[in-house]
């Protein structure tokens, strides 16, 4: 028995594995639309009761209206046999398929499709009769789906388009057969490629029909993951839908992650560039700011300049005072110089004038105008007494010495003037310098004051720039928190996959052995006598040991593939019945291909095996379409056969 596991237990296990709170797991489940599917499916049985269709053939030999009826069908083997090819056996299967799944298969030929006007089937689902009646026009289809109970028909649904028809059939069978959608991640070649594909009834119904394509062991859709899921689903395993959803999301996430990583790398690259750029800009702005003196600095400079200006001005003023006093001194000195010169000049004049008059002896008294007598003149020579007034005329003054003194004084005062003049010149020049300095400093003060006024705004702007760039740099350097959030989801999903896969595999492994044995048994009964071992793997592959050699499903002949495919379905049915767990409804329609592909012996072997197995599996209903051979005709009772002899068509 498959051990059932509650959804709660599963949730806790996932939370524990992901090391998060169960609430976080719940949030991830909700976010990604993953639903716990813990229910183990009990096998249900479909038995076709009737197949009917009608219409009008065009542009063929037997053109004209046609009508096909096949009633009173029941479990067991049924055969559609024609002696020639292309006589309508495949059409019967395709139409049943169409009606059961609501969607026309590509394999239904276009011309035949055009001929059909009405089609209906009735089937029993666990004993309850259902009927699908479809009227087909050139444009669309319409019809209804009815359930017969006791004495009246209950319409389950009616539909007026192909789309509606498909929706009706899909929802009905998904629910009735306890099927859960399967999500499959279909990767693409492109960078952002890959998308989640949801498989519903049209894909599931494939297990009831075996056509001429044997590429897939189960079903008729060839994709990487679907056969595994179909196998798990039809084995009746619980959690299959959950697992498929989680796995698809995981793959999607990986895809997202890869894309994210790529984008992230790109972003990191861009961010690095941006950071570099901003850093450069910031450095520049900072440098500029540094070069722009602060107000404080400017004020300090201004104060310094003011002090220096005051000093220079004071110096100039002092120099002016010095110059004034020097000038005064110069004036004084000049006056002295002039006086000295005057004195010298006077002295020279006097000496010379004295000399002039000494040579001129007085001849008259200036007072009385009397003549100076010779006697007086003689006495003057002898006694050095003036012949006029009688005073001594001896010179006591050393004229040369006096002259020397006066000349020295003039020279000295002249030198004094010269020096004073030089001093004044120097003072003037110093004062000029001081005034120039003062003027320059005053200008500097004015400039600084002007700068202070202008710079207030400028510096503020620069400071603003720096702040703005710093903020931008910080923003650019910050890695978004997006990644870590993603990581949490990733962890939980991984835990979901891990836990769910464990449950599924656990359940599956116990069944697969039985199924494998059954496949091997059935295949042998279908005539594959040299097959010693077929092993159905969890990944839906089927390694074989045939004639002592290891081989696989994909490597054997078409005839063998057909028989293995049928054997697999039957094996699953057998094991499902044995365990009371499974989802296959027990209806199987096998369309055998033309004789050139499948040897008639193979078909014979298959049919003969089926006849026997039908007896062993009471719910099994098998339809086999094929070219009529004596062997088949013998094996299948006549009343269970639609037979077209010669060139006849089945309808």
């Amino acid at each position: 028995m498959i051990k059932k596991r509650s959804a709660m237990g599963w949730l806790d296990a996932v939370a524990k594995s992901a090391k998060v709170a169960p609430e976080a797991v719940d949030a991830v489940l909700t976010k990604h639309l993953i639903r716990p599917t813990p229910v183990v499916a009990t096998p249900r049985h479909i038995v076709l009761r009737s197949i009917e269709f009608s219409g009008k053939k065009n542009e063929v030999d037997d053109a004209g209206p046609f009508s096909f009826e096949w009633k009173s069908l029941d479990t067991g083997i049924w055969a559609m046999l024609t002696e020639a090819n292309l006589k309508g056996k495949s059409t019967i299967i395709e139409l049943v398929r169409w009606l059961l799944r609501g969607r026309r298969a590509d394999t239904l030929q276009d011309d035949v499709w055009k001929w059909i006007n009405t089609a209906s089937i009735s089937f029993e689902l666990d004993g309850t009769l259902h009927r699908i009646v479809v009227e087909k026009s050139q444009e669309d289809v319409k019809g209804n789906f009815v359930k017969s109970s006791a004495d009246k028909d209950i319409e389950i649904a009616s539909f007026e388009s192909e789309g509606e028809f498909e929706a009706v059939m899909s929802s009905f069978f998904m629910k009735e057969l306890s099927l859960h959608f399967i999500t499959e991640w279909r990767g693409g070649a492109s960078e952002d490629g890959g998308k989640a594909v949801v498989h519903e009834w049209p894909s599931f119904s494939g297990v009831m029909f075996i056509g001429s394509d044997y590429n897939s062991l189960l079903g008729d859709v060839v994709t990487a993951g679907l056969p595994v899921r179909l196998m798990q689903m039809y084995l009746g395993l619980p959690w299959v839908s959950t697992l498929s959803s989680a796995k698809a999301i995981q793959k999607g996430m990986k895809q997202d992650h890869d894309t994210f990583t790529r984008r992230h790398e790109q972003e990191v690259k861009e961010r690095t560039l941006r950071v570099d750029e901003i850093t450069k800009e910031l450095d520049f702005a900072r440098e500029k700011l540094e070069l722009t003196p602060s107000d404080l600095e400017l004020r300090r400079n201004l104060s310094l300049a003011n002090n220096r200006y005051a000093t220079a001005e004071q110096k100039a003023r002092k120099l002016m005072q010095s110059r004034e006093s020097a000038k005064k001194f110069y004036d004084d000195a000049n006056m002295i110089y002039m006086e000295d010169r005057k004195e010298l000049q006077t002295f020279l004049d006097e000496v010379q004038a004295g000399a002039v008059f000494r040579k001129l002896d007085p001849s008259f008294c200036p007072r009385c105008d009397n003549i100076i007598t010779d006697e007086r003149k003689k006495r003057e020579l002898e006694t050095h007494t003036c012949s006029v007034c009688g005073d001594s005329i001896a010179s006591t003054e050393d004229a040369e010495e006096r002259r020397k003194i006066l000349e020295d004084r003039v020279a000295a005062s002249k030198a004094g003037i010269k020096k004073t003049k030089k001093d004044i010149e120097k003072l003037c020049s110093d004062q000029d310098h001081a005034l120039t300095d003062a003027k320059r400093l005053s200008q500097i003060c004015e400039d600084i004051e002007g700068k202070l006024r202008n710079q207030f705004g400028q510096r503020r702007e620069l400071e603003h720039d720096v702040t703005r760039l710093e903020a931008r740099l910080e923003e650019a350097s910050t890695v978004t928190a997006h990644e870590s959030k993603k990581y949490v989801d990733d962890t939980v999903i991984r835990a979901i996959v891990k836990e769910t896969e464990r449950i599924v595999k656990d359940a599956q492994s116990r069944i697969l052995g039985d199924v494998s044995d059954a496949i091997t048994g059935y295949a042998k009964r279908f005539g594959m006598h040299n097959l010693s071992q077929a092993t159905l793997k969890g990944n839906a592959t089927l390694p074989l040991i045939k004639g002592g050699e290891n081989t696989t499903y994909s490597k054997v002949t078409k005839g063998e593939q057909l028989r293995l495919k049928v054997a697999t379905v039957l094996a699953m049915l057998k094991v499902a019945e044995k365990h009371g767990v499974g989802r296959h409804p027990g209806l199987l329609m096998i369309d055998s291909p033309g004789s050139q592909e499948i040897a008639s012996e193979d078909l014979d072997a298959l049919v003969s095996g089926l006849v026997e197995i039908c007896n062993e599996l009471p719910h099994l209903q098998v339809f086999v379409a094929g070219l009529a051979t004596p062997a088949i005709a013998v094996r299948v009772p006549r009343d269970r056969t639609k037979y077209a002899a010669g060139d006849d068509s089945l309808w």
Binding site: M335, M338, E339, R341, K342, Q345, T346, L348, D349, E350, Q352, A353, G354, A355, V356, F357, L360, D361, P362, S363, F364, C365, P366, R367, D369, I372, V388
Partner: protein, 221 residues
Amino acid sequence: MIFSASPHRDAIRLLFILVEGSSSLLSSHPSGATLIFQGETRLLAFEFWVRNPDYLAAELLDRFEQTGEKELLAEIDSIFAEDEPDIRRIPMIRYLRGAYEKLDDALSILRSRDLVRIERKGKGVKIYETDFIIMPKAQEVAKKIVADFPDLSWYSRRARLIAAIAGTDGGKALKARQYERVQYAETRLGGIIPSIADETRERLKILKNESVEGAEVAKYD
């Protein structure tokens, strides 16, 4: 004897003033002299100009303004260049009597050597005019002084210049001209006649600029 302690120098100055400022005697003189310097006032006026080169310069400037004689400017330039207003200045007191006394000392030196004879005209003690007869010896002495004592030749040149300026004007007229100088007139009685060197120097400067400008204008007229 306040300002000049040298009667000999005063005598030399007077000698040259008398010689250069003299004119021919109209009638023959008993002494044989041929030249006469008329009037003591005129002598004092000459004295004033010799002793105050700044006033002389001002007078020359006036003259130049009237006549435009270039030689006058050269003379003025020379006066200032040689610092004459300082060096040659011998201040005078406006109170003219003192000057008389001084002149008497110097004149007596000239008289004692019989270089000059002083003739006073008048009735009794009232003297109307004093004339000075220049003896031929005085002319000789003057020539000899210029030859033997170059320092003293300045007096000769200066006296000649003043004589040229004074022309035939009498002492009264000369005095009147000197009185025109405001500063001169304003000098209080008994005070020293102040120097007008600075303003005269300034006048010269302005005048020179004007004349340069005038010349410039004339050149382009």
